[in-house]
Amino acid sequence: MEYKKILFTGVGGQGTLLASRLLGQAAMKTGMDVRVSEVHGMAQRGGVVESTVMLGGLKSPIISKGQADILVGFEPLETLRALERCSKKSVVITNTNPIVPITVKLGQFEYPDMDTWFGFMKENFRRFCALDADALAKEAGTSKAVNIVLLGVLIALKEIPIDREMVLETIKTEVKPKFVEPNIKAFELGYENAKC
């Protein structure tokens, strides 16, 4: 199969690691070779948390500048920060709901005007998909499922040969029983609302 380099980025606590692990599991069940990289330790404490899913037999666990095929940003500023890892061929998926960093609250920085930059992304990348994943997660019954909503969007775009059922099955086996239902709903909502 084709090689795909998928970059997940977000803020500590948003569940980027779980999303990448679920996708990795689904890929493995689909029979694909896969590598998933994770960030642990100090970097996790409220900072930026990145993970990658490399499909199709790639051995490298990380993605260099301009090399991501798909970027999934769990937070708009983090999407913006990761744009340098994309090329014009990339697909960019982003949550639109901001998590304002402490450095903005302290007045050291200004949060960028995202509407302008969403316009830029729409113009400059092969495909661009933005949606309020937090709102959809709440609708699904758990504000924590932002990661699963975005996973739904990713699968809906059909850029990678992993189908919906395989991910749903993975959610059922990997997520704690009491969270399975809202997570499945979150996945479906992401899947249905993926437009680009």
């Binding site: 803020v11 070779d33 330790g41 409220g46 051995k59 490298s60 260099s64 500048k65 983090e78 014009k88």
Partner: protein, 563 residues
Amino acid sequence: MHPLLSGKSGEKLLLLGNEAIVRGALEAGAAVAAAYPGTPSSEIANNLFFISNEENSPIYFEFSTNEKVAMEVAASAAAAGVRSLTCMKHVGMNVASDVLMTLAYVGVKGGMVIITADDPSMHSSQNEQDNRIYARFSNLPMLEPTSPQEAKDMTIKAFDISEELELPVIIRTTTRTSHVRGPVELGPLPEKVKRVGKFEKNPRRWVPVPAVARIRHKVLLEQAERAQKFAEASDFNIVIGKGEFGIVASGVSACYVEDALMELGLEEKVRFLRLGFPFPYPKRLLSEFLKGIKKVLVVEELEPFLEDEIKVLLKDLGLSMEVYGKGTGDFSRMYEFDPQMVKKAISRFLNVELVEEEMPDLSNLPPLPLRPPTLCTGCPHRETYNAVKEALKEIGEEERVIYPTDIGCYTLGLLPPIQMADYLLCMGSSVGSSAGFSVSTDQKIVSFIGDSTFFHSGISSLANAFHNKHKFCLVVLDNSTTAMTGHQPNPGIEITPPGYDHPRIPIEDVVRGLGIKEVYKINPYKKKSAVETLREALSKDELTVVISEAPCILYYKKFGGKK
């Protein structure tokens, strides 16, 4: 049951490199393991901890108070003929190195594997030392995996080699091999694990007084020579492709090389030696490899470890060829690599054009707000820092104070708005460095140490501080867990993971036991009384210890109220 224990032979699991090492140890029949947690090694210890708590677990595991102790626990178990393992982050090896260097002399009976997880780029560390040098320093064999599958397979092999040579074997990972997941095919678990060994007394081996050590050094060098044989025969050294130019790499760098060759379509046009056995390197294999090429590129993070070996070997072989790598400026001795960096170096080396993807113009991007890691909302450390600041302000010392700090979440007190971390070296350095500041300045000294770090290496320095009459205030941030690395227990904890019935050692008793009289306790959430107590402690012109007790909020959510 824990998935690493219940997984059946032939089953494929998506495992972290660290988890794969644990499974490898179980498949190899390791029966004793001990560790002090440290990123990027922590998941090895965490998984072993949970597995050891299973009913009829095949393995004993303990969180030891530091890496030195952990290595001693594993070493003596192996001396008794039981297979053992210890794991640590790269700087943990410094703590254990006193054991390591002489353990190499006395050796082992049962297989013993030491995992060192290095952290190029310092994602969670204070330096990026290259622990391959410890292999050369101690003369112990070292293996280096490139994938989770290899991490598991190498762990098993390392136990066999260790038993054969009667020497511990080191496995070196880096952040990118410890924290990558990949499919791992499980092998069978042994039907019976040798949990009980027998220590055969032999002072001429196990007690390295000078006369014995002189003999054992000779034995070590002989065994190190024999290790060559294993390096030569190892399936983990692989030569791929053909051509007149060669590339040598190991660890994650080898992954970058493989992807680059594949993406550049050069797999068949260059000879690539993937070294899984970096020490001792397979001399014959490498010699043959070098004889067949005209120039070589060495791809390795951090120190020019293989590069220097290759330069020496070329001289011995009487071969002259250009060695590309750190010496030629193709790679840096700093930080981790990335795939594109390696791809660029390879295209320069092979003189092929690298077609770059067209990137959007990001030159108009404004300066993006930084998102530094911070203490959690509601974290008790934050409250303690504020109370100390307030108390210092009240006694008019806020401007002149020095804050030696230590290793843990609370090191983040470095950042604004707290900014109460002025000096740091390593685990436990808060106490020792306070002593130095107290004799060399007339400034107020307030230092911070966590509960786990206190037990790791704070106690002996505190005994020193009291005995030598140093004057400072040590604030122990006792949050009842080892928070940064994922909530491992330590001897002082009041809230314990379920079923953890180890005797508790209250920090206050330790401090008073040393003879220190000025010992105070505060609850950082009760700000008024905390500030009052701190004001009193900080006003003293002698060594004082303030224990700030409040559990880590994340840990409390996890285990609070459960026993």
